[in-house]
């Protein structure tokens, strides 16, 4: 999507852990960009440094090489801390807060008063399928609901760029398919800029405008695929011919042909 401004750009990103013989190169020369309102996925074999990449983009770790750019401003990872929304694999809801008060955490930290923060959150509760559970505590909710609450917390934090780290990885496959279908619709309006990490090829294709395929360690981009499938999308799309064609391409680049895939 060349017509939209680039929000987040990483160029020549490298990350090395340790030193000498025992050093591990997790990322090497990784280039990546996410445009305004774009949904981008990163897939790769396990151990390709996806988590390292996300920690860097969230501002939690400094890269050992390369540059980062957010809205045109170049800087280190620390410049991204607190500016990029981050949703980890586990929901990490605070068990002592109600669902409502969990979702407003980002607003609270930003200095929004509780009544106002709650009002903003409550507006989105129906769309996130959480209506009626405002006063419940996380322990009382099912896994899918907790993930949606965590997602709402990330959305409400008001970050324009959101990182999702395998948000549905812990759910069973049926619930996961439902959640993907739900997310692709919630995302339509308002369009957030999202970067998703996943190892699920279907999930990446179904949700994204663009998919990056990473190589095994050290991680670098081996393919950047423009998905170019119509929106709004419904789950039937995943069995359509254009979808399967793209899936084959991705799987090939991931190092497996459909015949040998185990």
């Amino acid at each position: 999507m060349p017509d939209r401004p680039i929000r987040l750009r990483a160029s020549g990103l490298g990350k090395r852990f340790g030193a000498g013989d025992r050093a591990v190169q997790a990322l090497d020369g990784l280039d990546l960009e996410v445009a305004e309102g774009e949904f981008v996925s990163v897939i790769g074999p396990s151990g390709c440094g996806k988590s390292t990449l996300f920690n860097i983009l969230a501002g939690l770790e400094e890269p050992t090489a390369g540059a980062l750019e957010l809205d045109g401003a170049r800087g280190g990872a620390s410049g991204l801390l607190g500016r990029v929304g981050y949703m980890p694999q586990r929901d990490l809801l605070m068990p002592w807060r109600t669902i409502l008060d969990n979702t407003i955490l980002g607003l609270e930290v930003a200095g929004v008063g509780r009544p106002e923060a709650r009002r903003q959150a409550l507006e989105l509760f129906p769309a996130f399928g959480l209506a009626g559970f405002e006063r419940r505590r996380p322990g009382e909710l099912s896994g899918g609901m907790r993930q949606r609450a965590a997602l709402l917390r990330t959305f409400l934090a008001g970050r324009e760029v959101i990182l999702l780290d395998e948000p549905f990885g812990a759910l069973d496959s049926l619930t996961r398919a439902g959640m993907q279908q739900w997310l692709v619709q919630v995302w339509e309006e308002p369009r957030k800029t999202i970067l998703l990490i996943t190892h699920d090829v279907d999930e990446a294709l179904f949700l994204s405008d663009r998919v990056y395929v990473l190589s095994p360690r050290p991680g670098r981009v081996v393919l950047s695929l423009d998905v170019d499938l119509p929106r709004p999308r419904a789950y039937e799309l995943t069995t359509s011919e254009p979808f399967v064609e793209r899936k084959q391409l991705l799987l090939e680049r991931l190092g497996m042909t459909l015949g040998e895939a185990s």
Binding site: G82, P126, A127, G129, S142, A157, T175, M179, Q185
Partner: protein
Amino acid sequence: MPARTDPRAAPPLPEEPPAPSDRRRPGLAGRVLPPLAFSLLVLGAWQIYTELADISPLLLPSPWQVAQSVVDNASLFARNALVTLQEILIGFALGSAAGIALAVLLTYSRLAERAVYPWLVASQMVPIVAVAPILVVWFGFTIVPKVIVVALVCFFPIVVNTIDGLKAVDPEMVRLMRTLGMSRPRIMRSVRVPSALPYLFSGLKVAMALSVIGAVFGEWVGASEGLGYLMLALNNQLATVDLFAAVLVLSVIGIVLFFLVGLVERLVIPWHHESRRALQQQQ
């Protein structure tokens, strides 16, 4: 699927197993009856045994005789129980406060932890039996040595549990809060402290149980009043029935205090029990 016209309309949500519904808790009867029935069974067997075998009350008094002694000596027991209760509560409060303060300090400073922790463990190796008489020499037959003994026995479980609790916070949770822009002091307040509370209360419960014994022990070493002192005196007089009665009064105090801590726990961290119960139901 047709294009949605109203973006605010909720998209269809995945089917999921329902969230754990309202908690099933045993009613009042379910919670009170089992311990009551069991107690009656034990006491009944005890009563029947002492009567049938014609055991001398000097060796083993019957529950009925013990109960009578409590009633007969009510004012004596009440007076001494109040003294012991005071020692327990003051010692417990001081020991807990010191324990929590030290735990926070040791969690904040690695250096302090490395320096102090060995001393902390070593302090528990010094038998109270050896320390208590010296405390009496220092502070005389006042309340002070007893309070110190109680504080000493409370202190350790509280420090250890609170430190474990403050450290048990999920590191990923801390990272997430940092990406939300939370400052470190605020993370301490909003994340570390709440997640340490269940641990703290475990420590408080152990400490409360220990402090009852601590108070009695403090009185044994040197006192002129209190339940521990009374027990010693009654034992010397071979007043076995009254001795048992004193033990009974002390036990009741201990049990009530222990459950009070549990009650405060439920009030302060209701979420802890809720999520535990929900987990049990999901399994």
